[in-house]
Symmetry: C2
Subunit: 223 residues, 2 copies
DNA sequence: ATTATCTATAGATCTATAGATAATGC
DNA sequence: ATTATCTATAGATCTATAGATAATGC
């Protein structure tokens, strides 16, 4: 932190400085919001974590909610884009006979890989999303940023399950996303419940199981 | 509300009055916490909703967190007890050959029925639990109140899947509870995503699918 | 005589704004 | 000359406590 602030004094263009400070603010906010939610974090907490004055946050963001939404938006397009690409790749590859499991692998594994490879900031973002996802306003943010990818997934699932009612497909997706969000939240509950056999942070373990598990679930809904 | 406050003036024993006020406070807190979380609700909000002075909350509860925990605890033993009983009934009935789907029906359907039959207060509690469940401190509350039922479920699943690694069973449960919590949260996301085909409040639709879906998922994890 | 409820208020925070200062930009 | 950062502060809330008042309890 002290090293960071001296480094800050070295010559930099204003654009660089702006970008760097913005990123630090977003990182700090992301971390704190992921732990305590919108109302559980004060602008002062965020400023303190970055090492700047609270008022600087108002220089960059209109208000607290804008900061919150900016945190959500920053990485949303990355994960959304990656998953869309993976789904398109799968669609091309599978041709006329896509499978539920194939589509889910593209959708879920691609996302989990991003967090696994992205390190702490991405893991924080994952927890942030999970926390946001089961609130009403949060769910509306999800709509805005993730509806296109999800509807793309749904369209492939429909082709894989041509005799299914839309209702069954959507409820299946509802289960899938619940399991995914519970994973991203990393609450530590499964660690304690399993007596240490499983670990909340072990996204590899989830990745190994979730697509197969959920695909079988979909297939079982046949009327 | 005005009718309630005149009714309040009618003769009542102190014990009755205490019980009634306590219940009103807990109901109001439950509703508000389910919408906005611990930090998103002020004691004043709760008091206002009940129609009493903020300070009365301190007469009944030590502080805000105690109120929060009391909301959680009030109905936890009911759902926990009902599910335990249902699992025991199923165990007795299934004898030496319990199935995954049978155990999940006992565990999940019993819970969903409680919310369906319990009306608004129970639906609020469900949303409250869902919201609590994907926070760290919240997950610890879940440990305290729900570990026994969940471990009972796990023990039956182990008997139904004798050649499975514990790890697979616990991750399977992790998926199940994620799907359930996503249901209890009732964020309205599935409504919008499905263009009105599905409804967040339609626990019957979930009940019709979730146990079958998840049971098939478990069976697919076989190595 | 005890318990439920309200009044008054202390003390701490929190968000947000106005305006000063200190850097970089041509 | 513009942009990044800080100082000072207004105004609103929020939690929590002390102590008064108004009911019920024997």
């Amino acid at each position: 932190m002290s090293e960071g602030s001296t480094a800050k004094r070295t010559r930099r263009t204003k654009a660089e400085q702006r970008a760097e400070t913005l990123e630090q603010i977003l990182d700090a906010a992301e971390y704190l919001f992921s732990k305590n939610g919108l109302y559980g974090v004060t602008l002062r907490d965020v400023a303190q974590r970055v090492g700047v004055h609270t008022t600087l946050l108002h220089y960059y963001f209109q208000d607290k909610l804008s900061l919150f939404e900016a945190v959500f938006a920053r990485r949303a397009s990355v994960t959304s884009g990656r998953r869309t690409a993976a789904l398109e790749r799968y669609e091309a590859e599978a041709g006329d006979h896509p499978t539920v499991e194939g589509a889910l692998h593209a959708f879920l594994d691609t996302d989990l890989d991003l967090y696994i490879e992205g390190g702490e900031p991405w893991m924080n973002y994952a927890a942030f999303c999970a926390r946001v996802s089961n609130t009403r306003e949060g769910a509306e943010l999800m709509d805005v940023h993730f509806d296109p990818v999800v509807l793309k997934l749904v369209s492939i699932l429909k082709r894989a399950l041509p005799d299914y009612a839309d209702e069954d497909i959507f409820w299946g997706y509802h289960f899938v996303t619940g399991a995914l969000m519970n994973t991203l939240a990393r609450t530590g509950r499964i660690d304690r419940l399993s007596g240490g056999i499983c670990h909340s942070d072990d996204f590899d373990a989830v990745k190994k199981r979730i697509a197969k598990f959920m695909a079988a679930g979909f297939l079982a809904l046949k009327a």
